[in-house]
């Protein structure tokens, strides 16, 4: 339905040249989301999450593809994609570790936990291990302050996590 829009968007956004085709299931899932809102732009964040669930991140080519389905400009989609911290515009590891660095976890020494993670993985915040297994990121207060320091690995929330538990905990994520 939006072939003109898609063509226009293809021409106006720089991509890394990788061919990207929206999976049929993802396209349907995005179209299904449209029903929840008054205007298609509203499905933008969910559309990005749908693509990210399949690919682990949002590849460049997905931006004009989503814009085409929603009938909005690619720049609008890119603006949204780069605003939200849980939308990844570069490849991430198979598992994403979100370490809470807010006040309650600061007071219960998340920094020692972070040091243990950084040492075990050999990476810092914002980096991915060379084997593509883990990405380490900070996150806003996880709402687990009574059990700080807290972190999330994928969909699992843990707390309090002792620095000494890190190695064994990470083993569970292949």
């Amino acid at each position: 339905m939006n072939s003109t829009a898609a063509t226009r968007n293809d021409a106006t956004i720089a991509t890394d040249g990788d061919a990207f085709a929206l999976h049929d299931d993802d396209r349907h899932a995005i179209e299904h989301e449209l029903a929840h809102y008054e205007q298609p732009q509203a499905a933008c964040i969910e559309a990005l999450k749908i693509v990210q669930r399949r690919h682990g991140w949002v590849p460049d080519g997905a931006i004009p593809a989503i814009a085409g389905v929603l009938g909005v400009g690619a720049a609008d989609v890119e603006g949204v994609a780069t605003f939200y911290s849980l939308i990844f515009r570069q490849p991430v590891g198979r598992h994403v570790i979100l370490v809470c660095d807010s006040s309650s976890c600061f007071l219960t020494d998340y920094e020692a936990l972070y040091d243990a993670l950084a040492e075990a993985l050999g990476i810092q915040f914002g980096q991915t291990t060379p084997d593509g297994r883990f990405t380490l990121l900070p996150v806003c207060c996880l709402g687990a302050c009574d059990r700080g320091p807290a972190l999330m690995i994928d969909d699992d929330t843990y707390g309090p996590v002792d620095p000494g538990d890190v190695a064994e905990l990470l083993e569970a994520y292949a």
Partner: protein, 460 residues
């Protein structure tokens, strides 16, 4: 090792838990939590229905006018539990409704991200039907066509519980057309976010819901006049909405009596304590409970350390001193002491912990989470962080304290579209006021010495 792995994972897994056992909680005294289980399992649909669930919807829809509902919520004086403390009934009375005005939206703000706050998670994960019932009543009162639950993306378990509960409520006819034979149509969708603290700000939340960057909007027009897609929109916190069913079921007088004369505010509050205490946790208590009572429930300070200071309700509230522990924690009282009750979840700081370092951590948070829309916030907060970092290293410059004081004023109310920068300014201002000596100890350079002896600046 292999065998102990699942045990370690499961022992470390975070479980949201109310600290009062079920035996201590009753419908008459604990309207928010009396149905919850000791094992933290969610209250399912059948059980919720058996325990007076959806009774308020049945009683009110089609039998009372929306204005009558608003009148009761207003009289009960339910104040916004997201932290701002604005009267929910007043907000509802200001929603545009009537002939020729389109039906708009009721949005539940479930974007809990305020540093130190872990209360809405409990209600979302363990009692989703109470929220849905509160939203149906709110939708009815505000003549809303549709409801959204704006849930932060990281609350995966809450998303699961809510998705199931919405399906159950829809199947049972509590959502959809002609709810309980009242002629009222209303449905709810779950909208999950993708990070960013600013989404919890009322107007930024609406921008995010519309699929844009979460920039705030100028008020007026207020969301109740023109919100999501230009329609009248009401945004209420999870805990606020969860108070509504019991008020309509048991009456205003009962609700006001819950605080037992401790406060002019009505009802109960989810209070909590985090930081280095013996037994951090979450409780449902009469509004107006004191900080000392909470600290005692939390088993006092860990390792016998003394309390230096505390934040009464999240990172955007002002520092209070040990002498303030005797104050009843309600919106008006705490407001008189240079702070706010905020979310009512205490963050405690021990005598050994540095206020400068904690403030640096808080301001780094606010700096990172600024949406960048307004200049004082976007540029002022990183500046504050840089100064705090140099003071923390003992490399501050004379005049830095005055500069921080000036910045706190320039980040204050009225300078920006939303309350993000004023929220960041409040702990800064109160920290400087109560703990000036700690800042002074971090200053080693004479004024304007930066050029000859550059003050290193760290990452923001």
């Amino acid at each position: 090792m292999t065998t102990s792995r699942p045990a370690l994972r499961s022992s470390l897994r975070y479980r949201c838990q109310l600290r009062q056992p079920a035996a201590e909680r009753r419908a008459e005294t604990h309207p928010l939590t009396w149905r919850l289980h000791d094992d933290n399992s969610p209250v399912g649909y059948d059980e919720y229905l058996d325990k007076d669930g959806y009774a308020a919807v049945r009683e009110v829809l089609g039998r009372q006018s929306p204005d009558e509902v608003i009148g009761q919520v207003k009289e009960a004086n339910v104040r916004g539990r997201g932290g701002a403390g604005f009267s929910a009934g007043m907000k509802w009375s200001l929603t545009m409704k009537g002939e020729g005005i389109p039906r708009g939206y009721l949005v539940c703000n479930a974007d809990e991200m305020e540093p130190g706050t872990f209360k809405d998670r409990l209600l979302l994960e363990q009692q989703p039907h109470l929220l849905i019932e509160g939203m149906i009543l709110g939708g009815y009162a505000n003549n809303s066509r549709y409801g959204y639950i704006f849930l932060r993306g990281e609350y995966v378990e809450a998303a699961r519980a809510l998705t199931q509960a919405l399906e159950e409520a829809r199947a049972a006819g509590w959502l959809g057309n002609d709810i309980a034979g009242s002629g009222f149509d209303f449905d709810i969708a779950l909208h999950t976010g993708a990070g960013r603290y600013i989404c919890g700000e009322e107007t930024a939340l609406i921008s995010s819901l519309e699929g844009s960057r979460a920039n705030p909007r100028a008020k007026p027009p207020f969301p109740g006049q023109s919100g999501a897609w230009g329609k009248p929109t009401v945004v209420n916190n999870v805990e606020t909405l969860c108070n509504v069913p019991a008020i309509l079921r048991h009456g205003v007088e009962w609700y006001q009596g819950l605080s037992g004369g401790r406060s002019d505010d009505g009802g109960t509050k989810l209070y909590g304590v985090s930081g280095r205490v013996n037994d951090p946790g979450l409780w449902e208590l009469p509004i107006g409970t004191t900080g000392q009572e909470l600290l005692d429930l939390a088993g006092g300070m860990r390792d016998g350390k003394a309390l230096k200071t505390w934040l009464p309700g999240g990172g955007s509230t002002g520092f209070l001193l040990p002498e303030h522990l005797e104050l009843p924690l309600d919106f008006d009282t705490v407001g008189q002491y240079g702070s706010r009750m905020g979310t009512g979840l205490l963050t405690v700081v021990t005598e050994e912990q540095s206020v400068v370092s904690l403030l640096r951590n808080l301001e780094q948070f606010f700096s990172r989470e600024s949406c960048g829309w307004c200049t004082p916030c976007r540029d002022g907060l990183p500046w504050v962080v840089k100064i705090l970092q140099s003071i923390e290293r003992g490399e501050g410059e004379q005049g830095d304290i005055e500069l921080l004081e000036d910045l706190a004023v320039k980040l204050g109310p009225g300078k920006t579209f939303c309350a993000h920068a004023p929220g960041a300014a409040m702990p800064l201002q109160s920290g400087l006021k109560h703990f000036r000596d700690e800042f002074e100890r971090g200053i080693s350079h004479r004024p304007r010495a930066a050029h000859e002896d550059p003050i290193p600046v760290g990452e923001v």
